[in-house]
Symmetry: C2
Subunit: 331 residues, 2 copies
Amino acid sequence: MLAVALGFSAAQPASSQRAQTGRADPLPSWNDGAAKRGIIDFVTRVTREGGPDFVPVADRIATLDNDGTLWVERPLPAEVYFIFARVRELAARNPSLKERQPFKAALEGDAAYFHEAGKKAVLELFVATETGMDQERFAAEARRFLEKWRHPKLDRPFTEIAYRPMIELLAYLRRSGFQTWICSGGTIDFLRVFAPQIYGIPIDQIIGTELKLESRMEGDRLVVWRLPEIEAINDKEGKPVGIDRQIGKRPIFVAGNVGNYGDIAMMQYSKGRRGPSFQLLINHDDAAREFAYGEKDNASLSSAKKYGFTVANIKSDWKTVFGIGQAAAAK
Amino acid sequence: MLAVALGFSAAQPASSQRAQTGRADPLPSWNDGAAKRGIIDFVTRVTREGGPDFVPVADRIATLDNDGTLWVERPLPAEVYFIFARVRELAARNPSLKERQPFKAALEGDAAYFHEAGKKAVLELFVATETGMDQERFAAEARRFLEKWRHPKLDRPFTEIAYRPMIELLAYLRRSGFQTWICSGGTIDFLRVFAPQIYGIPIDQIIGTELKLESRMEGDRLVVWRLPEIEAINDKEGKPVGIDRQIGKRPIFVAGNVGNYGDIAMMQYSKGRRGPSFQLLINHDDAAREFAYGEKDNASLSSAKKYGFTVANIKSDWKTVFGIGQAAAAK
């Protein structure tokens, strides 16, 4: 209910939104700076009826990356910890896994192994832990994980690792008539379990990596079954493709982050729109309050410079990093 | 604008919807009979707050097939005529195509050839005519077709081959808080060009057959390019998979048609929902007003009997078949 109610709140008349957003600072957890001013200026311009940059509500599409943009992705993304938790359950039933890689590294929470071994190792675990069940069973497993496990470094539930400034941004965009979509490299089905509660984003506004699925009869009941194969990876050049498939319009607002080259193509796609657009790139430079990391060749920051994306540095642009609950998403 | 405004009208409070729908016959083009009574009874039950079958707005998902359910699919589906029109343009530039099958049959409008040669022949034409361009160019081509060409048997624009009773049903469902999605075997990109105008369905509520796509740079501009390969056929057992991917919930209301076995799995999927659901199967038995056709083994009608789907016979259940324009969808 919550999720759809929020999705539909985008249908508020623009005039009442402006009255609302004009009343107070829409982004109180952001320091005054180029990023905050850029966001507010853009939203004001595209929602000003009769103005030269006005964009009708139907085209106010925002797509935001999740891991590293809306919530923490270090030492490893939450979905990887979910996979680790599932491996523990498998190893309890089949102890020989304890001696086999990549299961051994998963059981030991060895993030370094996975940064070294790369996607192939994660994929092997993924197939072993997230497939071979129907969609309803998977959702129940993911829900159980989120209720039970805590982030290993931040020592808090995974439902509380979202960035407060970004939750405010989502609410501000929606109040301004935007549809807020997630466009993540994580799997769509994992995202669906927490996005409505944490971000106020309904499950049909999530674009993610997709598993191969098939219809299967279980007795007289048709279920959608998770096959052990990835169908489409929603990362890098895959993101514009995922957006085209599920939305069919170039986003006018995108947010992504430095760290894995994952959002450059999505930002270029948005920039290629005829008409106004805004690209926000989160830069993880704050080891004290979060995690500091980047790219060896600075590709994301370089393309920000080249194409005119706006960079938000966590250290200087965010007054507060965490500390907002479910209630805020409902605003 | 129209499309999204209509999509969002689903957010009306249930009470005002009931007042509205109680006022007049919500389905004036339907004869009084089991199908009409079944639909109205179902919608009334699931929208009655506090009633035993009440379904919250967030779960009021309706998925409707397009060809043969919302509009005419005979002698051939509209998208096939679009492909034929594109073949003519290709043949004008490359006359040798006139002697080569399946191009020859396409140029002669030889429906019998395609019913015989089957999907492989259509696929060959599809690749030759609908791929190798970016999405924006494709949309422009499809729009040009719909503005220019007329249905060969009904002698009217393709924008006027929708069934009036189904347009009324879509509007009735939306007034009752349902999200109305198309779930079609046609390609998502072709559907997107006309669904907002004809059905009041926004382009992000369309599930269809998907082409393989890729991100590609054209100079400094990133475009989504149509590759010569089908990625996912959204027909038969593919439909529950498509619905899971884009909506993530079992539909409580589905509509499909007899003729190509295309909607049985989608209906079983809906029927497998825990809680109330309704499945409507359109039976094409009216050669005088439309086209009469069925399946040799009566598979769709048999499964209607077995699972309890509701059959609507065009001859007896529809007072009027055609004759409604864009204006009606806006109601």
